[in-house]
Amino acid sequence: MSNAFERWQKMRNAAVDRIDKMKYERETSILVGSATCENAAGSTKVYEAFKKELSGMPDVYLGITGCTGRCSMEPIVQIYKKGYLSIKYANVKEQDVKKIVDEHIKNGRIVLDLVLAEN
């Protein structure tokens, strides 16, 4: 009879296996902010636009995450590419999505005017 910790360990291993394959081992991950504040700023539309724009691209994960705290700059979109620091885009609008996908996701060129960066 295994104890609680061993049971947890087993569950965790299986879960991490699943989420790694789905999310963390992908070449690119896109996380769109999703919270009451984010949605009010229009993040749901941005998410849908990404979904449309990304259809047919196999090695990209599109998901949601909670509020990052920069409420005045939302919607926030985070892009992870293997081997690079993550990039956060701020004030992303539906019409910016195509540009982010074409430039950053497909060609690795960061869309500088949208980056949430230091002054």
């Binding site: 947890w8 919270a35 960061i110 230091e118």
Partner: protein
């Protein structure tokens, strides 16, 4: 685009001089090595390590080095950054739990003064995926507790951490749990208070929306420590997304035997349910909250007996705030001792604030206790909007007060804020500039509490109403000599005689504003003047004859017909008929109308 970040941090006790020297040395060295385009050197708050030395972290690899000096910097830059050879010397494993945040965020100016413990997973994981929560060691704390810790061990660990209630009161969490554990009763309950009602506060909402599993796990651990097998989350119905995510989290946790009957095969059972509040402010008060869950009208009752002895349905009940509970899993996984390294002697850990008002960077922030208000407003917040002058910062919402510029160096902790006449509160922080009228602010908050008073006890019901009437009179230019004394006397009486926290704290915004901005109140009363030009009834509109061209626009727009004058000749306003709406002031294209 930088490929790497070198982050330097020091422990509080370290010498600032030496630290700055090393930072400059590192920047220099990066320049000399022609790496400026790829590597950025940054300073950050020390977030996990307790030594007195300087720490260097390399991102995105998350390599951490202790006892950093020139030699180590040289070695890291020459060997690792240039040749790609890993440097193992002085490298240590730090707990990923906290550091992930920095790895992920690019906006270093805003984030480096912050430390995210409560919000450790917010903006990192998918709040709707249990697998993603597992990835960040989700439910490890619960598994650990059920395998190797007794309920008393858990309470001892929380005691070591120094965690205090984050709802605003600051009662030691271990004490509450001990009281609950010792209380007699077969049935015990854990309640998570997510009835966040302060105007402008959204810390709990963001915590639940970004990381609902942590709250659930914290509740289950509390249940184990106290001996409760049932828990309720009392959350306001106005938070539909937070409710949806909590429901989803509870469902997934139930399906995976992480809450419910015989959790992880042990004999510990913890069932969890949601209870939706209708948004009454008073239901954030624990006894009113309990009444509301029981299906009664949400009204407080006198304490003692405290809920931990006699609470929900007469049974021992421990009520904790969302933020308090979200901290619990981290404390259990790492240690209470670790948690107690953050913050200051009397207030440990971090506090989440909803930073709002007239600052450049508004948003949700989490800072180590002991950070000063100045650091929050001018460094994290980026200063006052439009270059205006800072006037005051309001903490604690309708139960707190305003803090003026002289006290900007007050560290944020329970006791220091209480000394200024404000309170820590649940985490609302509103920054005000010179264009804010302190009488108006006092009126705003009192109007809120007056509306939200449940009406059970007279001091609160009648007292706040009378205070509001006086304030309304003052801001309408009908203030009388002695009004300030009346407000103070009434306020002190309400504080003393009210039944619950709502009434006991309702006069705070008024009293603290009188304390620090008495002159402004006196100006309103004696000179009938509002220096911030907010109290409309105190404003006079005058047409400057030398500037008025007689275009007649103001005359046409004036709703009370108080402006007279021939075309192309200067007009005049009849002050007796003027209703002070300000429309003429806004419509004049020649700046010929002034407010005074």
């Amino acid at each position: 685009m930088y490929k790497k970040f070198l982050l330097l941090s020091k422990h509080n006790a370290g010498s600032a001089e030496e630290f700055n020297r090393l930072v400059n040395y590192t920047i220099d060295k990066i320049q000399k090595s022609n790496l400026t385009a790829d590597v950025s050197v940054k300073i950050r708050v020390n977030n996990y390590y307790s030594g007195n030395d300087i720490i260097l972290s390399i991102l995105p690899e998350n390599y951490n080095y202790a006892k950093v000096d020139e030699r180590i910097i040289d070695k890291i830059i020459d060997e690792y950054l240039i040749k790609g050879k890993e440097v193992k010397e002085n490298r240590f494993d730090c707990n990923e739990l906290v550091n992930r945040f920095y790895e992920n965020f690019g906006n270093y100016n805003y984030f480096n003064k912050q430390l995210r413990l409560t919000l450790r997973n917010c903006g990192i994981i998918d709040p709707e995926s249990l697998d993603d929560y597992f990835k960040v060691d989700g439910f490890r704390a619960l598994a650990k507790v059920l395998t190797e810790m007794s309920p008393q061990d858990v309470i001892d660990e929380i005691k070591k951490s120094g965690l205090r209630g984050r709802g605003g009161g600051g009662y030691p969490t271990f004490q509450k749990w001990t009281n609950g554990a010792r209380a007699e009763g077969k049935q015990k309950y854990i309640i998570c208070n997510a009835d966040e009602g302060d105007p402008g506060a959204f810390m709990d909402r963001s915590t639940i929306e970004g990381d609902p599993f942590s709250v659930i796990e914290g509740m289950a651990i509390a249940g184990y420590a106290v001996g409760a097998d049932k828990g309720f989350v009392y959350i306001r119905a106005e938070y539909p997304l937070a409710i949806k995510r909590l429901e989803n989290a509870i469902k997934l946790a139930n399906e995976n035997n992480l809450i419910g009957k015989n959790i992880l095969g042990t004999d510990f059972t913890f069932e969890l349910e949601l209870r939706l509040g209708a948004g009454a402010f008073v239901c954030g008060e624990e006894t009113a909250l309990i009444a509301s869950i029981e299906g009664k009208r949400g009204m407080p009752r006198p304490r003692p007996p405290y809920p931990s002895i006699k609470g929900l349905f007469g049974n021992p009940t421990v009520i904790n705030n969302v933020e308090t509970l979200a901290n619990v899993p981290a404390i259990i996984i790492i240690s209470g001792e670790w948690f107690s390294r953050f913050g200051i002697e009397t207030s440990k850990g971090t506090k989440v604030f909803a930073l709002a008002g007239k600052v450049n960077n508004t948003g949700l922030i989490e800072i180590p206790m002991g950070t000063t208000l100045r650091e929050i407003i001018f460094e994290i917040g980026g200063g006052i909007k439009d270059g205006k002058k800072f006037k005051a910062v309001q903490t604690g919402g309708p139960s707190g007060g305003c803090i003026p510029e002289e006290y900007l160096d007050t560290p944020v902790d329970y006791d220091s804020l209480a000394k200024t006449g404000s309170i820590m509160g649940s985490g609302g922080m509103i920054v005000m500039d010179e264009k804010t009228c302190m009488v108006d602010v006092a009126k705003f908050f009192l109007d809120f509490t007056q509306n939200e008073s449940c009406g059970k006890c007279t001091p609160c019901r009648e007292g706040t109403k009378r205070m509001l009437e006086i304030l309304e009179r003052i801001s309408a230019g009908k203030g009388e000599e002695g009004d300030i004394d009346k407000l103070e006397r009434l306020g002190e009486t309400i504080k003393l005689a009210s039944l619950c926290g709502l009434g006991q704290s309702a006069p705070n915004p008024v009293l603290s504003n009188i304390k620090y901005f008495r002159q402004e109140f006196e100006e309103h009363i004696k000179e009938k003047k509002c220096r911030a030009k907010v109290c409309k009834k105190l404003l006079n509109y005058i047409i400057l004859t030398e500037k008025c061209v007689g275009c007649g626009i103001c005359k046409k727009k004036c709703p009370s017909g108080c402006i007279t004058g021939e075309p192309k000749k200067p007009h005049t306003i009849d002050p007796l008929k003027c209703i002070k709406c300000g429309i003429c002031f806004e419509s004049c294209k020649f700046n010929a109308i002034i407010q005074g």
